[in-house]
């Protein structure tokens, strides 16, 4: 970088006139603080939680280590092999537990509980859907605190459409296994799986009005429509019974959410258009293509500061997806009930490994993408994990940590925490770095140690 401006340009700067389009420079060097040296610790912290379902096969995931904290060896267990090239840039965390995912007297239903407890730490209520009850998830807790700085407080994405149904797992509503992000204890945030839809949410559907007068009028209309429908909702709420009023509350919350976003977009200088092609309208069936598009979009969302918090589900919990891309026709979930069958175990490992391979692409992407004077990799905290360990257990959960979290994390370690250490302790540590004061979250009993300097 050989050009230092005296003053910082606003983050959103548009180039106009190129083939009639509007091209945003997500982060020009010119927007970097005009300082001599970058201060890596100062920049917006970002967080992505990537979730994968159906647990892992223990021997192919965990390292056999003598002591609690060791540097990661060159050779990683089979499932994690795709991450070997990044072994200095990831840490493996073992021993973490989500107690809320356990039966605690409620009988079978580990998948439903695993999904809904992973980020909430709650013990979900067994129900077909009328009275869902989990908890507020960590990402949403953080989004409430810091989401105000960006257009989207958070994004919820995934690669598998949720299942419709009142009963997905032995009496647990499908809502529990469809979402890890919960805005309130009774409102899950269903992940968006369509790359095109994510793109249009972030950057508009392309009907950007260039004439400022016409644009101003459109915005005025938009606001009047929002006012008008809010008025309708208020009128209705006055005459409704309690269950119906709850529905109207949901409605008004959602409308206000849109209002806020419009305000923010205005404050930040209008809609932006990225230097990425619009994804195709259909959802890619090929898993590699689908995950890559989603990881690209996540990178873009961070890079354009559309959000700082993203949750992403590689597939829904208890997923029955068949990974024909690697020649596996059986349902993933079915295979995990392998009963010791070597062929099935091998297929489970191959699926887990295949997903890790896709995640490796995301790490590469973060490393290659600038975020101010650093890279997204330097800024972001990313976890890759699931709410099930071996055999549908809820302890010793598989977890990869990556991203330097603005310099917080020293990576390249295998850390085995004491058994029964709450996963919520990691949530507390991550929220802390996001600037969200949380002394305690769910069943946490401290902040997870060994992540930074020893």
């Amino acid at each position: 970088m050989n050009l230092i401006f005296k003053k910082q340009l606003p983050r959103r700067t548009f180039l106009r006139g190129m083939s009639g389009g509007v091209i945003a420079l997500p982060f020009l060097d010119a927007m970097i603080p005009a300082l001599g040296r970058a201060d890596v610790s100062k920049g917006p912290a970002r967080m992505a939680v990537v979730y994968f379902p159906n647990g892992v096969q223990v021997d192919s995931w965990y390292l056999k280590a003598e002591s609690d904290v060791i540097p990661l060896p060159e050779k990683l267990p089979r499932t994690l092999e795709p991450l070997e090239m990044y072994r200095k840039e990831i840490s493996l965390l073992g021993g973490l537990t989500v107690n809320g995912g356990r039966a605690l007297g409620d009988g079978p239903g580990d998948h439903g509980r695993a999904g809904a407890s992973y980020l909430t730490g709650a013990h979900p209520k067994k129900t077909f859907g009328k009275d869902l009850q989990a908890g507020v998830s960590m990402d949403q807790y953080a989004a409430r605190a810091v989401g105000g700085a960006t257009r989207f407080a958070s994004l919820e994405l995934g690669c598998e459409e949720g299942i419709q149904g009142g009963n997905c797992d032995n009496g647990y509503s499908c809502a529990y296994s469809n979402s890890i992000s919960w805005r309130t204890p009774s409102t899950p945030n269903p992940p968006e799986v369509r790359p095109r839809a994510v793109f249009e949410r972030l950057f508009g559907s392309g009907d950007f009005e260039r004439d400022p007068v016409a644009r101003a009028r459109q915005e005025k209309y938009q606001k009047s429509v929002l006012d008008s429908v809010l008025g309708d909702a208020k009128r209705l709420e006055g005459v409704l019974g309690s269950a119906d009023r709850k529905k109207m509350d949901e409605y008004m919350y959602a409308v206000r959410d849109i209002e806020t976003r419009i305000q923010k977009t205005e404050q930040q200088g209008g809609q932006m258009v990225p230097a990425m092609d619009k994804p195709p309208s259909s959802v890619p069936e090929n898993y590699v293509e689908h995950t890559r598009l989603m990881f690209d979009l996540m990178t873009l969302a961070f890079q354009s500061d559309a959000t700082r918090i993203i949750t992403f589900m590689m597939a829904i919990e208890q997923s029955n997806r068949a990974y024909r891309e690697i020649g596996i026709a059986d349902s993933h979930h079915g295979l995990t009930h392998h009963g010791g069958d070597k062929v099935k175990i091998d297929k489970c490992i191959r699926i887990n490994r295949f997903q890790v391979e896709q995640f490796a692409y995301f790490i590469g992407k973060l490393k290659a993408t600038k975020d101010g004077d650093a890279t997204l990799f330097d800024r972001a905290m990313v976890t890759y994990g699931g709410g099930l360990g071996k055999d549908h257990d809820h302890d010793n959960l598989p977890l990869v940590l990556t991203g330097r979290g603005n310099g917080l994390f020293n990576l390249g370690r295998n850390i085995k925490y004491a058994d029964e250490t709450p996963l919520a302790n990691l949530h507390v540590a991550m929220m802390d770095q996001l600037g969200v004061p949380a002394e305690k979250f769910a069943d946490s009993n401290g902040k997870l140690p060994y992540l930074s300097n020893l």
């Binding site: 079978p108 009963n167 009496g171 509503s173 499908c174 009047s224 309690s242 959410d257 849109i258 010791g340």
Partner: protein, 876 residues
């Protein structure tokens, strides 16, 4: 046998839910109950009352019919009926007897296969229970219940937009999946509204209002509107976006391509169809053979060229191929590739009809078939195929050794519009009812236009205040210098985003505080326990209840008229309307929404059969299975047949490929036709491919899963979830060293498994003659199929016919179950304890009316919960 439980994701109806903390999971032979606290009031001994006695009547009955499972040792599903040894101890637990009563009344217990107890014995027991419950303060009266405001689900949204504005777009296809509860995705409590969905509602309100007012934005000159592509293989691998962007349609071994397309405007469109013809191609040859062929061809070519050059140099005409040579060449090509008819049809009408000859030019070289056709605006079904291939004995005859299809439709491009109609669209006329030409409206139009839009969109009259709020938007647009039309569009945008449109809200009377419902001891049966007051829903609300029930859409003009005249609630008007609505094509939504969810058809194809094991099952065949069951249910509705036909009926609908899949002779071609069945191998939903496939694994059948499917969906008695940590089924040598049946029998020796599996497995074995994709078989691997089974209690049966006979003896349970499903769907809420009398009444009436489908619909419509709404009882 955890392995047999992995399909517990299939949504099911949980049975009746008791209010409050009493949650009951209904089951056969396995009643699981999470019992709440018993009421604090201790009822006095019943000996004071005349009537059946616990020790003399009830206990012997329980001992004979129930103790087998519900004893101290098994305590099946947490229920041990043998624990109650005296009148006093029994009366302590009214909630237990409440459950027993529900099972007995509905005929759900004793479970399928057990001897059916004498009616008089059952009557004595139920009478004793009713007395006990009455003394404990349990109400016997049906309540109307309260339905929570229902957000339109995706199907309803699309249909409503179509009927409200005449717009053919299917905007809701882009919305997130609706959650469903109690088996259906129209449940008011469960349908939530996330900010993400609201964003889409806002965006769609804008685009749809533009579409409705200004019509589809048409390109200035005809352009390519769609490119429909055929999948290259049954696997997803080949569907990569690189290069070929377009819409990929289902895979067909016979090379067919089909799907829907929405035409934006009445106009001419050009269909450009390209096929691939790899027949007679050398894909099956070895590399050496191919090289040799190429060398020979090259040699021939060189010789011919040399001959031509030589002739030219000599100033002679080039040598002609003799007619004999030509004929022989053609004949050889024809032999390798017989001529095949190719038809492209739009909504069933042929548009392109060609004969694809076998000639020496293979591959794609034939170019495109092009045809320009007049098409109306709206959704159309397109199909391009080679109909004769439907009659191939085995569809794999169309597969070359290199796995490529010999003949297939490659792509279809649609270019247009040519000469688009300039007259205002249907949608425009529905909006601008003042009848002026576009651009010629005057100020007085705004009021009636907007009022009409609002009343139809909100499905009720609107107040002046409501009307003013939207007229304000018209005025705003006009102040900004926009036209009146733009103003109306803006108002429409707000109407479509309004909660009054998105939710079906029903009005309440003022909530009032009822005196606390105290439970009095020793209340005589005749004295009604206070239940919340209820009022009939308004005629407009009734119109919406009817239309969303039978059509999954808004009321039409005639329903609105009947509501406006306040006649709809009159029994004769109501009945006439219901019959009219059932006869309307829109009642197909009962099949697509109600039946498809009840029978779990929507899960078909979610996990596809393994193409390696079932190479003849392609997407097209799965779609044919779906069509069969849809047409079958449609026939029951249209012909007003008995609902017992679901269990067994002497007819079904198949086309050539599906008939061959089933082994039904004499059916050819792609068209579906009704066939009469002798009932031996096929008849009823249980023998239909869609049901048999959806209750199987991708790789094999699972008798327990099928047994569970029957118990859950036909009898309404789902087995409880398996205990934790049951071992998996060893599958390694099934079919080679041991049969699936033997393995399962070994497996369920554990008594904790056998309680439920003794019911589930025999039912499933009765269907073992149908493989995991519903084809008939006599062997599984090297083992002959055995379908005989013994149900707990000694009842034996064999095969699907025997199973159907068993189910017919359970017709009470079946009718109760179908009634519950229909009532749940019609109301959009889960059923409560207080709905039991309603269900009982409907079920009785249905039976009294020869089980006719229309009786079921009519009784649901006439029922208290459908007609009325309870007041909200404020908690004191």
């Amino acid at each position: 046998m955890l392995n047999e439980h992995i399909f517990s994701r299939i949504p099911f109806h949980p049975g009746l839910l008791l209010p409050g903390t009493l949650v009951v999971v209904v089951s056969v032979g396995c009643v699981s109950a999470l019992l709440g606290q018993s009421p604090a009031v201790t009822p006095p001994p019943a000996s004071a009352m005349q009537g059946p006695s616990f020790t003399k009547d009830v206990q012997p009955f329980l001992s004979k019919n129930c103790y087998l499972c519900h004893n101290a040792k098994l305590s099946t599903a947490g229920l041990n009926l043998s624990a109650y040894t005296s009148e006093e101890s029994a009366a302590q637990k009214p909630e237990v007897w409440d459950k027993v009563l529900e099972k007995l009344n509905a005929g759900k217990m004793p479970p399928a296969g057990r001897p059916v107890p004498a009616k008089t014995d059952v009557a004595n027991v139920t009478k004793w229970i009713e007395g006990t419950l009455a003394r404990a303060g349990f109400s016997e009266e049906a309540e109307a219940g309260r339905v929570t405001a229902r957000r339109l689900n995706r199907v309803e949204y699309n249909n409503t937009i179509r009927d409200l504005l005449g717009v053919a777009a299917r905007p809701a296809d882009e919305f997130p999946v609706d959650d469903s509860g109690y088996g259906f995705d129209n449940n008011g409590d469960v349908l939530s509204l996330s900010p993400l969905l609201m964003e889409k509602y806002m965006a769609v309100a804008k685009t749809i209002s533009h579409l409705a007012v200004y019509g589809e934005p048409l390109p200035s000159k005809p352009t390519q509107l769609a490119r429909l592509l055929n999948r290259r293989s049954p696997d997803a691998d080949d569907v990569l976006s690189a290069g070929n962007s377009g819409i990929y349609l289902p895979y067909s071994l016979r090379g067919a391509m089909y799907g829907t397309w929405v035409s934006p405007v009445d106009a001419e469109y050009e269909f450009r169809l390209r096929i691939a013809n790899f027949r007679g191609d050398s894909g099956d040859l070895t590399d050496e053979q191919k090289a040799q062929q190429a060398a020979e061809r090259k040699k021939r070519f060189e010789e011919a060229r040399a001959a031509r050059l030589k002739a030219a140099a000599a100033g002679q005409a080039p040598p002609e191929v003799t007619p004999e040579q030509l004929k022989a060449r053609d004949e050889a090509a024809r032999k390798a590739a017989p001529p095949r008819k190719l038809i492209l049809s739009v909504d069933g009408k042929p548009v392109i009809t060609e004969v694809v000859e076998g000639d020496s030019a293979f591959g794609y070289s034939r170019g495109e078939f092009v045809q320009r056709v007049q098409v109306k605006a709206g959704e159309h079904f397109l199909r391009a195929s080679f109909p004769e291939l439907a009659d191939l004995k085995d569809p794999r005859e169309n597969i070359n050794p290199d796995m490529r299809r010999a003949l297939f439709v490659d792509y279809l491009e649609i270019v247009g519009p040519y000469n688009p109609s300039s007259s205002p669209s249907e949608g425009y006329k529905k909006i601008f009812i003042c009848g002026h030409a576009p651009g010629k409206h005057n100020a007085s139009c705004a009021r009636p236009v907007v009022r009409n839009l609002m009343e139809r969109a909100y499905r009720r009259p609107v107040t002046e205040i409501e009307l003013a709020s939207k007229l304000n938007l018209v005025a705003l647009a006009q102040r900004e210098g926009d036209s009146l039309e733009e103003g109306v569009r803006l108002a429409l945008q707000a109407i479509l985003a309004s909660p009054d449109f998105l939710f079906r809200v029903e009005s309440d009377r003022k909530p009032k505080v009822l005196a606390a419902v105290t439970v009095a001891a020793a209340r005589p049966l005749s004295e009604a326990v206070a239940i919340p007051a209820a009022h009939p829903v308004s005629d407009y609300e009734l119109a919406s209840r009817l239309s969303y029930f039978l059509w999954a859409s808004m009321p039409d003009a005639e329903l609105f008229r009947a509501a406006k005249e306040q006649k709809l609630h009159k029994p004769e008007v109501l009945e006439a309307q219901v019959r009219r609505m059932l006869a309307d094509p829109k009642s197909k939504n009962l099949v697509d929404s109600w039946a498809a969810q009840w029978l779990q058809l929507r899960n078909l194809g979610r996990t596809k059969p393994d193409p390696k094991l079932f190479p003849t099952v392609d997407d097209e065949l799965l779609d044919a299975m779906r069509t069969e069951t849809s047409m079958f249910v449609g026939a029951i509705i249209r012909e007003d047949r008995s609902i017992l036909d679901f269990i067994d009926a002497p007819f079904t609908f198949v086309n050539g490929p599906l008939a061959r899949h089933y082994g039904i002779p004499g059916v050819n071609g792609e068209e579906f036709q009704r066939v009469t069945l002798d009932g031996v191998e096929r008849g009823g939903v249980l023998t239909q491919g869609a049901i048999l496939t959806v209750s199987s694994y991708p790789t094999r059948t699972s008798p327990p899963v099928r047994g569970k499917w029957v118990l859950e969906n036909l009898l309404g008695t789902p087995p409880p979830p398996p205990p934790a940590n049951v071992p998996s089924l060893n599958e390694s040598n099934i079919g080679t060293e041991v049969s699936l049946r033997q393995r399962l029998e070994q497996h369920r020796k554990d008594p904790s498994c056998s309680v439920c599996h003794n019911v589930m497995d025999p039912i499933g074995f009765g269907l073992e003659n149908y493989d995991a994709v519903g084809a008939w078989r006599t062997h599984d691997g090297k083992f002959p199929i055995e379908t005989a089974g013994t149900l707990p209690g000694g009842k034996t049966f064999s095969g699907s016919q025997g199973l159907k006979q068993v189910l017919k003896t359970q017709s009470d349970a079946f009718v109760h179950n179908v009634t519950e499903k229909m009532l749940t769907y019609s109301l959009g809420r889960g059923l409560e304890r207080f709905d039991r009398p309603t269900v009982d009444t409907i079920a009785k009436q249905v039976a009294a009316n020869d089980y006719r489908f229309s009786a079921l619909i009519m009784e649901v419509v006439k029922s208290k919960p459908f007609q009325m709404r309870s007041e909200e009882v404020a908690k004191p």
